[in-house]
């Protein structure tokens, strides 16, 4: 699973700590999601899409190997 969180965050000029506060996770937790180590729940993905004013599909995409 790949994501564009870092890109969207850069557009907003937010630090990880700022985004983490907006979506209600710890900064370390957000880093884990951003680096693809942790796949967030649907609720958290939707919350993230909402703060970036985009869709979950735009934020998260399956890898080529994942079909």
């Amino acid at each position: 699973m790949k994501n564009t969180i870092k890109v969207e965050r850069a557009k907003k000029n937010w630090t990880q700590a700022e985004l983490a506060k907006h979506i209600g996770v710890s900064r370390q937790g957000l880093n884990s999601i951003e680096t693809g180590k942790f796949i967030p729940s649907t609720v958290l993905a939707l919350r993230m899409a909402k703060v970036f004013d985009t869709t979950v599909e735009a934020l998260f995409q399956l890898d080529d190997t994942e079909g």
Binding site: V25, G29, S32, K37, P40
Partner: protein, 131 residues
């Protein structure tokens, strides 16, 4: 949210310290047989109560964690449980062979190993998620 997480964490740490403060003197009193049997039974209940409170606070702290930390705790418990079960099975099989070492693997030590395995699982999970 952040404040409630801090309060829950602080409460679980305080209750863990209270448990430790009741457990150690209780074990000392029971080990040295300084009390009569009925009083010993009453004293033995004290750390059971403080440990129950600690577990309650720990579960409350878990409930307010974000989902990444909840996953870490969950995996730590799963690994800790699996390793503890493995150890119990090995000790059982060894005891069936007539081999046992209560000095290293008594009830008190098994509780310690259980926590040790939990922390092993915690370490593995933290590394996995890069926390």
């Amino acid at each position: 949210m952040e404040q409630s997480v801090k309060i829950a964490n602080r409460n679980s740490i305080i209750s863990a310290l209270i448990y430790g403060a009741t457990y150690v003197p209780t074990v000392w009193l029971l080990k040295h047989h300084v009390l009569s049997r009925p009083v010993s039974l009453v004293v033995a209940i004290v750390p059971v109560i403080t440990f129950s409170i600690f577990i309650f606070k720990l579960i409350k702290a878990y409930a307010v964690m974000d989902e990444v930390k909840q996953r870490v705790q969950f995996e730590a418990v799963v690994i800790g449980f699996a390793l503890t079960t493995l150890l119990l099975m090995i000790l059982f099989l060894l005891s069936m062979c007539g081999i046992s070492n209560p000095g290293w693997f008594g009830y008190a030590q098994l509780g310690g190993y259980c926590w040790l395995f939990y922390f092993v699982g915690w370490g593995i999970s933290i590394k996995k998620y890069g926390l």
